[in-house]
């Protein structure tokens, strides 16, 4: 049956900014869907507020809307574009919820838009827990299957919750309906827990509904990925087993594919139930996942939940098996059946089959607790990880060890050096799920723990525990061997030990292990991910390393370029870098190179085997990269390796790769060093006559105080050995500086910089070919200096800089590019203070803002950069039309639209963490708002990031003394718009004196008034406030005002009320609210923006 011809245009909804629980896997799935739909001749309309996605590249859709994914904005898009159908199943929970809202408001009916992929009833049945339980019961009854649900009660009020918990018995699981990534869910062990967790859950659920459930903590946990077509053909794409048993969110669990501890009978029962459930739910076409818990002692199986859409697990399953779930789901949605779609990998067999694996896949989560001081680090049903790495090996130990080293985090791999801590302590720690629990357990084994003790502590299946014991035995065999013979080494490598680990165990250098290994001719082979365990020949080269028998790397004639990706998502290194890598791959392939991608992040577009000519799913360590390079050099000419697009991860390998004789293209490792090493960079700046803030280095308290005295407070301090703003602080006085220094690890130097208070911070992305500088874009931060550029909102073109300023910025950037010797991309951060342009730092690589700049200026910067790295000049790229014939991102016409980037912060995941922005980056993602006016663009960015700005109601204002003058004007604007202003005493006085009526509210530290007058925090918690303005003051560790602010901001997060923490942000918000109230907010596609820009002569 061919595709449907009754629909011609399809609206695809993306998933918006990267947040915990919804990351770039939806860019991967959405990109696949858009490609399929366009290839099939449909007009594709896309909405996604996240500019760092590949799917929002203008060539992936006919009309690309970088607009907020809210029912209001999407309805505007529908009204304008009039699509025939809406595909809501590929953009995560965000897309699904938006589709539900549009259905319920009648918008879909009004504009005659058909939901495809899953209809409204199916979405309800899958997402509504009561309906779903009924379905499971029906399936068990009518099909005679062994399936049940956990006993549970649906509650809509706290009283219902309390009654239900008494009936079920503690502990109970609390699950809010219609939230993603398990927001608001948790275990309540007693009534106090229940009040807290269920209270937040009722709030978090858009339907004020939570489910209380019997506890199945400690049971085995499984997931099946299912596809169904309109002929009711159903296949199971992949089974996934969680090593961490029930109780840890699957996104935070170490997982393995395929399931390894089920017999066929148990597995087939699970399969039968999954199929019966998907039929009963009525998911017509497409993918969904379904989760199970199995009691390890009795085999009793419980169906936990299903998602009637593509999920994070589907991305993992696609990468794990080579079965492209999202792509196939899109084809099924437009009418194809599974047997009509060819298997991409074999090309000869159809997609209506179930992949079989002859390898093991392990996924490990990556956390960022170091960024969120005060956050509870226990892993629960509430997802906390910010990224993940996946590895493939021919055995579980090989895959597990590769996955752990893919995390690129200190202490993520197993270790056999030093003495382990006491067994009892390690066993105790193992009881509580935490980041790195497997390593804690490995150490416990070293300390003498038995399998029984570990099982008792963790409930992890004995089979997995035995694999840890096996690794311990293998490590000891390596340690005890008289020498590293070929046999010893080969055995160890088969068990996934890295050269670095072996060196550690033997007390020798990693490089020596490698030399020895190479001298013995011991190298990994590369096997193909072929969906069929080698039963058929694979046509698509998707490879992984293993110490196995035969290498399957095909020989190629074309010159190859190897692109190193950015590894697991983490704060500061996310989808933006994947975007740059993917662009480079597309462009270099077009330019005639054979492109080879190396990466280990299963969520990304770069690890789609369709993106590059060849994909290696490998850790990004020196050893693993060198082996890939070697394998590629054996099978054809290699032009070079690109390290500057994947962020800090590949950049950190540049010098070692060069030392090993690998050609690194683009900016040379020596030049990278010039920009990264402080002294060398200082000389570059001196030569170019560019000022930097005064600075010094200190290792002791006394030294630091001396530096501070010389350069003057405030100072910005940070340890010299960390990147990405970790451990940074702004310090205003001697006492705080002494405390900070005392807390540093001994011996490590601390960098002390003059902090430019109230400077305007400016970010620049530029391209340099050795001759010409192309200024990609100049971004002006909305918040003043001191807030990490990744967390700061910014505007492009800059809203308060004149053409003279930009001229200076251009000259300075060119000076740095020349001085450093950049070939490709360069990012520079400046601070403009009292008319002086200071250079804060320069990074000779793709930056986080490259995709934003590319979308805002309609110029593919990363593609151009890749070409420059391989030798093209900017002049020739201008001739080709890849870059504009004249001008650049610094010469945008005055009519150009203004794009605002806003950061999205994960504070709702980490209750108890202060939400004040600072020099350490904590955002997980970003959105873009774009419009002709700054106010509207800013309002859109807020709507996309946090929800619509309120246009009426109460605003609560409490600002630091230094901000009191600056806040008057914007607060008056709010009052003029009709807001009732509440303020703490000091703030209210200033406002009243300036003619703004403000009601005084008690501070939290003052407590409730004699007549029971509530405090500011109480007002917020009671839902009486619609907008909060609170700028922090003082320094950490103080009580009083500082703590007041903390309580206010925490309350804001709890209630989900917009909270502005800078005056600059307040001014922008006031402008945005004014624009919304005036009602002149429209939607415009990127293609229209680009046409307008060209018409204006840019």
């Amino acid at each position: 049956m061919p595709k449907r011809d009754d629909i011609r245009s399809v609206l695809v909804i993306g998933s918006g900014p990267i947040v915990i629980g919804q990351a770039c896997e939806f860019d991967y799935s959405g990109t696949q869907a858009c490609r399929v739909l366009r290839d099939e001749g449909f007009r594709v309309i896309l909405v996604n507020s996240n500019p760092a996605t590949i799917m929002t590249d203008p060539e992936f859709a006919d009309a690309t809307y970088v607009e907020p994914i809210t029912p209001e904005y999407v309805e505007k898009i529908i009204a304008k574009e009039r699509p025939d159908a809406l595909l809501p199943t590929l953009g995560g929970q965000t897309a699904l919820n938006t589709a539900v809202a549009l259905h319920e408001s009648g918008a879909l009916e009004r504009y005659e838009v058909e939901l495809i992929g899953a209809d409204f009833d199916a979405i309800q049945a899958g997402e509504n827990r009561e309906l779903f339980k009924g379905i499971v019961a029906k399936v068990a009854r009518e099909h005679g299957l062994n399936a049940e649900s956990a006993s549970s009660v649906v509650c809509h009020t706290m009283d219902e919750c309390l009654a239900a918990a008494t009936e079920l018995g503690y502990p109970v699981v609390v699950r809010p309906s219609f939230t993603m990534g398990g927001v608001g869910s948790g275990f309540a062990y007693d009534e106090t827990d229940l009040l807290r967790i269920a209270g937040a859950g009722l709030d978090a659920s858009p339907t004020t509904e939570v489910l209380l459930e019997e506890s199945i903590i400690g049971w085995k946990e499984y997931e099946l990925e299912v596809m169904r077509d309109k002929h009711d053909n159903v296949v199971i794409v992949c089974s996934i087993e969680n090593i961490d048993p029930m109780g840890v969110h699957t996104g935070d669990s170490v997982t393995v594919a395929p399931a390894l501890t089920l017999t066929d009978r148990e597995y087939q029962n699970m399969r039968d139930v999954a199929i019966a459930v998907i039929r009963e739910v009525g998911v017509d076409t497409g993918g969904c996942n379904i989760q199970f818990a199995v009691n390890p002692a009795t085999g009793r199986m419980i169906v936990i939940e299903m998602n009637p859409r593509v999920s994070r697990s589907s991305a993992l399953a696609s990468k794990a098996t080579g079965f492209p779930i999202a792509k196939i789901a899109a084809k099924l949605a437009i009418g194809y059946t599974l047997d009509e779609i060819p298997n991409d990998i074999t090309k000869e067999t159809p997609a209506s089959f179930e992949p079989t694996l002859d390898y093991i896949v392990v996924k490990v989560p990556r956390f960022a607790f170091e960024k969120f001081k005060g956050a509870d680090q226990t892993l629960t049903t509430h997802m906390k990880s910010v990224g993940e790495a996946m590895a493939i090996g021919r055995s579980f130990p090989e895959a597990l060890q590769k996955a752990l080293r893919s995390l690129e985090k200190k202490d993520s791999s197993f270790s056999w050096t030093g003495s382990p801590r006491p067994k009892a302590e390690l066993l105790d720690e193992s009881r509580v799920p935490h980041d790195g629990r497997l390593r804690t357990m490995q150490q416990a084994i070293r300390a003498g723990a038995t399998a029984e003790e570990l099982f008792e502590a963790t409930n992890i299946d004995p089979w997995f525990l035995d694999q840890l014991f096996l690794l311990d035995e293998e490590a000891r065999a390596v340690g005890e061997a008289t020498e590293l013979t070929a046999e010893v080494l080969e055995r160890a490598k088969r068990h996934g030990f890295s050269d670095a680990q072996l060196g550690e165990i033997r007390g020798i250098d990693e490089a020596r292990v490698r030399d020895l290994r190479h001298a013995l001719g011991l190298r990994p082979v590369y096997n193909t991910v072929d969906t069929c365990a080698a039963e058929f020949a694979a046509k698509t080269p998707y490879l992984y390393s293993a110490y196995d028998e035969e290498s399957e790397v095909p020989y190629g004639e074309r010159e190859k370029v190897i692109i190193l990706g950015s590894g697991p998502n983490r704060i500061g290194q996310g989808i933006e870098f994947d975007y740059a890598c993917v662009h480079a791959s597309f462009e270099l392939s077009r330019a005639g190179f054979e492109t080879v991608m190396v990466n280990c992040n299963p969520e990304t577009v770069s690890t789609d085997y369709d993106t590059s000519d060849r994909l290696y799913f490998e850790p990004l360590t020196l050893e693993d990269v060198l082996e890939v390079v070697h394998a590629e050099q054996q099978t054809g000419p290699v032009a070079g390796v690109i390290v500057q697009l994947g962020g800090q991860t590949p950049l950190g390998l540049a010098q070692s790769l060069k030392d090993a004789g690998v050609p690194v293209v683009g900016t040379s490792p020596e030049s990278i060093h010039l920009a990264e090493e402080r002294g060398a960079f200082g000389r570059v700046l001196a030569e170019a006559q560019l000022p930097a803030p005064k600075h010094g280095t200190a290792t002791t308290v006394a030294e630091a105080l001396a530096v501070a005295e010389e350069i003057g407070y405030p100072v910005l301090v940070r340890p010299s050995y960390v990147l990405g703003g970790a451990g940074m602080a702004i310090v205003y006085d001697d006492a705080t500086l002494s405390t900070y220094m005392a807390a540093q690890e001994g011996g490590h130097p601390v960098l002390v910089d003059k902090f430019l208070d109230e400077a305007i911070e400016i970010d620049v992305d530029a391209l340099f070919d050795g001759e010409e500088l192309y200024l990609g874009g100049v971004m002006e931060h909305i918040e003043e200096a001191g807030i990490h550029s990744g967390d700061s909102a910014c505007a492009l073109p800059p809203i308060t800089l004149g053409s003279n300023d930009i001229k200076r910025i251009r000259a300075a950037t060119e000076g740095i590019a020349r001085g450093v010797g950049v070939r490709g991309l360069l990012n520079v951060q400046y601070a403009m203070s009292a008319g002086v342009l200071y250079v804060l730092e320069a990074n000779p690589r793709a930056s986080r803002t490259v995709p934003f700049v590319s979308k805002a200026t309609a110029v593919p910067l990363a593609k151009a950069a890749a070409r420059v790295m391989l030798g093209s000049s900017i002049a020739s790229l201008r001739e080709e039309g890849m870059l504009p014939a004249t001008g650049d991102g610094g010469t945008l016409p005055l009519e150009a639209s203004i794009a605002v980037k806003e950061a999205v912060l994960p504070f709702n995941r980490f209750r108890g963490v202060d939400i004040v922005l600072g020099p350490e980056m904590r955002s997980t993602g970003e959105v873009m708002g774009i419009d002709e006016s700054f106010g509207v663009a800013y309002a859109k960015s807020q709507a996309a990031a946090y929800g619509e700005l309120p246009t009426k109601g109460r605003a609560f204002v409490s600002v630091a003394n230094r901000d009191k003058r600056a806040m008057i004007f914007p607060v008056r604007a709010l009052a003029d718009l009709g807001f009732e202003i509440l303020a703490t005493e000091g703030t209210a006085e200033v406002l009243r004196r300036n003619g703004v009526h403000a009601k005084i509210v008690r501070k939290q530290s003052e407590g409730p008034g004699p007549g029971g007058e509530p405090t500011s925090v109480q007002y917020i918690l009671d839902g009486e406030v619609d907008l909060i303005v609170n700028t922090p003051f003082g320094s950490p560790g103080q009580s009083g005002p500082r703590l007041d602010g903390y309580d206010i901001r925490t309350a804001a997060v709890l209630r989900g009320i917009p909270c502005i923490t800078t005056v600059a942000g307040l001014a922008a918000a006031a402008a945005g609210i004014q624009a919304i109230v005036r009602g002149d907010v429209g939607v415009r596609s990127l293609q229209e923006h680009a046409r307008a820009l060209r018409a204006a002569g840019a």
């Binding site: 199971i236 017999t263 399969r271 209506s352 089959f353 694996l357 390898y359 089979w463 039963e535 035969e550």
Partner: protein
């Protein structure tokens, strides 16, 4: 650690360590791509005289239990795995796979090169092989001994695996039908699936004559799966069943015999289908079922159009979507049909279980 060798008749040798019983064994080298169900595979009589390599790397994790075997013993001639489990983890298990193989005297090898072996067989076809857990002779001599082992072509093996005495599997619940099932290597799940549907199954030895079959007064006749070359089987009893218009259903080897009874020929596939993920399309409905397979031979028949047979018009009812191989045959009047794969699905998915319902419907119509 002692070493073991897997030696192929074309001279390729794989190194590993002994697994299961020690000694040496010979057979046809085949690979199975199922990720679950090793216990069912080992006890499937169709694997008689075959050395089976598992493409899934970790085998034995869930140990061995008393509920899952498909027959009373392990039938594979030898077993090749990559990563044998060192522990048993399942609430139903009562011993380890290693112990079970030792107890059953099955010689095996654990070796890293199972993927290389699969690729080799895929390219060169199934061939004879030997496992030697303590090889004393030079490799060339071992290759020579492998070459002297009997080939699968022309092998008549049903009698070696089938029951020698008839027995009855009673219907579960109310008895609706009597089925005469000829055991050519039948799996335990097959009569069970029929019994679940109210069939009293009379399992007869492989050489059962038409008279012996009719003696149980069957509502339907069933021919099971089994090892060996279908060309060696006498199709006379089945032809007489068809002439008598008794409803017939066949599985696997039974499908091949049905094909030969209809006048079609059978041939050996290059490396066969062995696994639980094969897409088979029912040409009448267009629906695809994911099915369990274990066959090295197949029927040659025209796809897409009915053809004449001595028993009326017939058609290819099921086709494998991977290689367009014939997976099912039926007489257009519906009274006799067969499939090349395993609807009883042990191990494997249950998508094809409807075929047992169809058999019951055919018998039901015939009774009416």
């Amino acid at each position: 650690m002692t070493s073991a060798l897997l030696v192929l008749e074309d001279g390729r040798v794989f190194h590993g360590t002994p697994y299961g019983a020690e000694g040496e064994t010979f057979g046809e080298m085949v690979f199975n791509t199922g990720m679950t169900g090793y216990q069912e595979t080992l006890t499937d009589p169709s694997y008689h005289r075959q050395i089976v390599a598992m493409t899934a790397p970790h085998i034995g994790n869930t140990g061995v239990n008393d509920e899952d075997p498909e027959s009373g013993r392990v039938w594979v001639a030898g077993y090749v795995v990559r990563e044998p489990s060192r522990v048993v983890s399942n609430w139903r298990a009562n011993r380890s796979l290693d112990d079970y193989l030792k107890e059953q005297g099955v010689v095996g090898i654990a070796m890293p090169g199972t993927r290389a072996l699969t690729r080799h067989l895929r390219e060169r076809g199934a061939m004879r092989a030997g496992i030697f857990t303590a090889p004393a002779e030079p490799v060339e001599d071992l290759v020579e001994r492998v070459r002297q082992a009997p080939r699968m072509e022309g092998a008549d093996l049903s009698a070696e695996v089938a029951t020698t005495e008839p027995y009855v599997v009673p219907a579960i619940g109310e008895k609706r039908f009597t089925v005469a099932a000829v055991d050519l290597g039948i799996k335990g799940m097959t009569p069970h699936r029929m019994a679940e549907r109210g069939c009293e199954v009379h399992v007869l030895p492989a050489g059962a004559t038409f008279e012996q079959i009719m003696a149980v007064e069957p509502d339907g006749v069933f021919l099971s799966n089994g090892p060996g070359d279908p060309a060696t089987v006498d199709v006379t009893p089945l032809r007489r069943v068809l002439e008598a218009r008794v409803p017939f259903f066949g599985i696997c080897f039974g499908n091949q015999i049905f094909g030969r009874a209809l006048g079609l020929s059978t041939y050996k596939l290059r490396y066969g289908h062995r696994g639980v993920n094969q897409p088979v399309q029912d040409v009448r409905t267009g629906k695809v079922e994911i099915s369990a397979h274990n066959h090295g031979f197949a029927v040659e028949a025209p796809l897409g159009e009915p053809f004449d047979t001595p028993y009326g018009r017939a058609e290819v009812s099921h086709v494998n979507l991977n290689d367009r191989c014939v997976e099912g045959l039926r007489l257009l009047d519906g009274r006799a049909f067969s499939v090349q794969y395993h609807p009883e699905a042990a191990a494997g998915p249950h998508d094809a279980a409807y075929l047992f319902d169809e058999f019951c419907e055919v018998m039901s119509r015939a009774q009416a």
